[in-house]
Subunit: 234 residues, 2 copies
DNA sequence: GAGACTTTCTATAGCTTATCGAAATATCGG
DNA sequence: CCGATATTTCGATAAGCTATAGAAAGTCTC
């Protein structure tokens, strides 16, 4: 198996294409990602990935025994959605602003991800043993979002809703709208990633806030939290 | 082509299986629907459909030249989501109640449909020439929902939102939550079809209503509209 | 009963994912 | 420097999928 070495420079049989990229595993992931973005996971074939990486179809299987393993590797590189939720769930700021920041980060990441959330979920469900991390991450995000909502309900910032259900609705709206961003339906207005993220989170908070007029203030507070807790300052 | 006759009783070469169901086209749709519900569209093969209907794999192609045509026929049988929107968009009742009724009917139909909305959309997008009706229906529903929202904004029932964006969010939430009903994520609470429909529509209206306290009254009004305009009394 | 029409069959092409063993190179011990 | 071993790629191919082509087996019409 090639899973051990990742940077083998010049061993093994040479490629027919002549290319000698340093890290085949990373090269395959890179090319596959570009193809997934352009055509989607299901519509991208191993032959196309192989050709883009300068290999024959069957050679890709030396690095990834199954097509889903490429997706899995891609997922593990794109972690970090939870950082905001982990940082903000126990923070002292108002719950509404923390919820806004967490949901906005989630929505933005769904839009920025190379793969449609539902295509991801589809593959994850067909290979649960390999995608346990996907479900664990989702479950943790849901739990932390519900916890923040509960804090907001207790503090009186938010209406007296069921936190679990409200979290499900908030994440479901993020997911439903990332789809509209990614695959605009013909005839409908198209949105930017930030448009749909803001639309999604504004809608959720408008439904939860006890007082609608607080929304602009919440947005401002959240903007501060988001820059302070963004993963960019690692 | 077999598209002309639909009830051919006893012509043609007899089946090896011996079965002699009266209307092969309907029989194929029925069996395919059951398989789509159980396994999803992509995971159901033409061999399985054929076997369930008492035919060989290639014989199904006499009735449906492509696998997507079965889905298309299935879609045409499950129309009627728009009836509520068509009836209520110009109705004199308060806009909030009409919006509630329309969105609840849409959410309920998404849950009751034999196929996941996104799987439908996926196939429709790959065969746009055959699924024009799907996109037209969606576009019309969106337009009518936006129109009702605009009426509500003008009358002061609803907050001063952008009707187009609000309609996109409302339908997107319905779609995102039907997914949670249909494919519960491991570890999360599971909901009934009515649970998710109510959660979705309550969330949308809570975000749009100028006054949250009006929600229970809107629900009651909407219940009246829904029974009065339900397609069951055709 | 001959010919046309309808429906199903068998066979197969072409595409996909995935496996297997051989081939071609680098590396290491002597 | 040379043979054994490890690494990487290749070609061939199996098995499953959608879809097509043409033969086969009935009914129907006159």
């Amino acid at each position: 198996m090639g899973s051990g070495k990742t940077a083998g420079a010049t061993a093994g049989r040479p490629r027919l294409s002549g290319s000698v990229g340093g890290a085949p595993r990373q090269e395959i992931i890179r090319e596959a990602t570009a193809l997934f973005i352009a055509k989607g996971y299901a519509e991208t074939t191993m032959s196309e990935i192989a050709h883009a990486a300068g290999l024959r179809q069957s050679s890709v299987y030396y690095w990834f025994a199954r097509k889903e393993h490429i997706l899995q590797a891609l997922l593990e590189e794109n972690r970090g959605s939870l950082q905001m939720a982990r940082a903000l769930e126990p923070a002292p700021e108002p719950a509404a602003a923390r919820l806004y920041a967490v949901l906005h980060a989630d929505a933005a990441q769904l839009c920025a991800s190379p793969l449609d959330f539902y295509e991801f979920e589809r593959v994850a469900r067909s290979q649960p043993q390999n995608f346990g991390a996907f479900f664990e991450d989702y479950s943790e995000l849901h739990r932390r979002a519900a916890s923040i909502i509960r804090q907001g309900v207790d503090s009186g910032e938010l209406r007296a809703v069921d936190p679990e259900a409200a979290a499900t609705a908030a994440l479901g709206l993020n997911e439903g709208l990332q789809r509209h961003y990614r695959q605009p339906l013909p005839g409908l207005h198209t949105y930017t990633a930030d448009d749909v993220s803001t639309l999604s989170v504004d809608t959720t908070l408008a439904s939860l806030l006890r007082n609608h007029d607080a929304l602009p203030g919440v947005r401002t507070q959240a903007a501060g939290l988001m820059t302070a807790n963004s993963p960019a300052e690692s």
